[in-house]
């Protein structure tokens, strides 16, 4: 009884300290770390470059050719889309927060189109570091884990392979302006062998198939 009375203030102090510690950081758990533990980004930090056969459909317009994607710094990735004979459709440099247009075919040089393209490529190329809430929504066929997230990009679902932790699908919430959905297929490399991105807002369909696998 005596020991118990003596320890009570210590116990309460520890409890209070824990409470204060938790209360001090209620909204800022390290969800980036949490995401990394659950799935690998499609284009990891170690990614250097990849050449894809590419097809873009924007409404009734259809473009085809090659898409060259290359990391140009720790924070930037360059995306160059050319037609079969080498003429550049667009040449973009993206970071997690911005996009620089190095070149674009005149007919595609529309601010609203470029803004959507910027957001879509950021979803494709960069890990979302703004996730504030992440929950396991369910498990499909015992292999695919589905996570629901809230982040600066809005609400989204991530479908991941349970064993390899590879990203299989990303789907933004229907309520989001950026209603992008991306499906990934994988081969031997650490980047996807196939990518299908669809954005119904501008009826954009993008098909990428890795050439130098």
């Amino acid at each position: 009884m005596t020991n118990s009375k003596l320890n009570r203030p210590v116990f309460l102090s520890v409890l209070l300290a824990c409470f204060l510690t938790i209360s001090a950081f209620p909204q800022k758990p390290d969800f980036t770390l949490t995401q990394s533990e659950r799935w690998k980004p499609a284009f990891p930090q170690a990614f250097e470059k990849g050449l894809f056969k590419a097809r873009l459909e924007i409404g009734t317009q259809k473009l085809s050719g090659m898409m060259f994607i290359k990391r140009t710094s720790d924070t930037a990735i360059r995306v160059v889309f050319t037609n079969e004979i080498g003429l550049t459709f667009f040449d973009l440099e993206l970071t997690e927060q911005s996009m620089t247009v190095h070149g674009i075919f005149p007919a595609m040089d529309r601010k609203s189109f470029l803004k959507i393209l910027e957001k879509d490529f950021q979803i494709l190329l960069f890990k979302d570091r703004t996730i504030t809430k992440l929950v396991l929504k369910g498990v499909k066929k015992k292999e695919v884990r589905i996570y629901a997230t809230h982040s600066g990009r809005g609400k989204a679902l991530y479908f991941t392979d349970q064993d390899s932790h590879r990203l299989l699908r990303h789907k933004s919430a229907k309520s989001s302006f950026q209603r992008t959905e991306v499906k990934y297929t994988w081969g031997k490399q650490d980047i996807p062998s196939g990518i299908y991105l669809v954005n119904p807002t501008i009826r954009l369909h993008m098909y990428l198939s890795l050439l130098n696998e």
């Binding site: 259809k62 473009l63 085809s64 004979i85 003429l87 550049t88 040449d91 190095h102 070149g103 595609m108």
Partner: protein, 214 residues
């Protein structure tokens, strides 16, 4: 924006265009009109061309090149086959006023006469075959140069949409037979594409099957 029209437009320009981005040793031609006449005569004698090609897309900022390879066939009067084999398969055929594109099994056919863009392309093709494109002053301004082994023709597009995209097209001709050995398309962004024609066979028989999609 139309995939086939844009690709085909510049693709067919390559039929007669060899561009050299920076060619040392070239001096202005003293008699460009005489050269154009000789080129027209030489072109009129060509009934077929068969060649391999190597295409290199040079990006102005990046050091990387995007390289493609393939096979090129031309047969008078209007048959043409442009076939990419590496790093993927892509085929364009012009036959009887129709464009046919085969993109890994996805086949599209376009009637030239029903499409104004393709009518223009067709005009350019005929200009190439007949050697008259260098005289097409409505579409291009031209400057002619030479060195010991070849001729260089620089074409500046004068009309849209080419003018908005391409700064200059440079055609490099072999002096021996006046056929195109290399071409380069200089884009306004600073990027350029170099296409070299190698192992050319002139006036050799080409089966008609080459100009059909099977």
């Amino acid at each position: 924006m139309n995939r086939i029209s844009i690709s085909s437009l510049f693709f067919f320009l390559m039929l007669i265009q060899g561009i050299v981005f920076s060619q040392p040793g070239y001096i202005p031609l003293k008699d460009p009109s005489g050269f154009k006449q000789r080129l027209a005569v030489a072109s009129s004698k060509v009934t077929s061309i068969e060649s391999n090609f190597i295409q290199e897309k040079n990006l102005s900022v990046l050091t990387d090149k995007i390289t493609s390879k393939g096979r090129f066939y031309f047969k008078k009067e209007k048959s043409l086959r442009w076939e990419y084999t590496d790093p993927y398969k892509y085929l364009i055929i012009l036959q009887n006023d129709k464009f046919i594109v085969n993109d890994e099994g996805r086949v599209k056919k376009i009637d030239i006469q029903s499409n104004s863009v393709f009518r223009e392309i067709n005009t350019i093709i005929l200009g190439c075959v007949q050697g008259t494109l260098l005289n097409d002053e409505k579409r291009f301004s031209s400057l002619c140069f030479e060195n010991n082994s070849g001729y260089l023709v620089k074409l500046k597009p004068l009309s849209s949409p080419m003018k908005e995209v391409l700064d200059e097209i440079r055609i490099f001709f072999d002096k021996s037979d006046l056929t195109v050995s290399r071409l380069e398309m200089q884009e306004r962004s600073g990027d350029y594409t170099n296409i070299s024609f190698i192992l050319k066979k002139i006036n050799q028989p080409i089966p008609d099957d080459k100009f059909k999609i099977k």
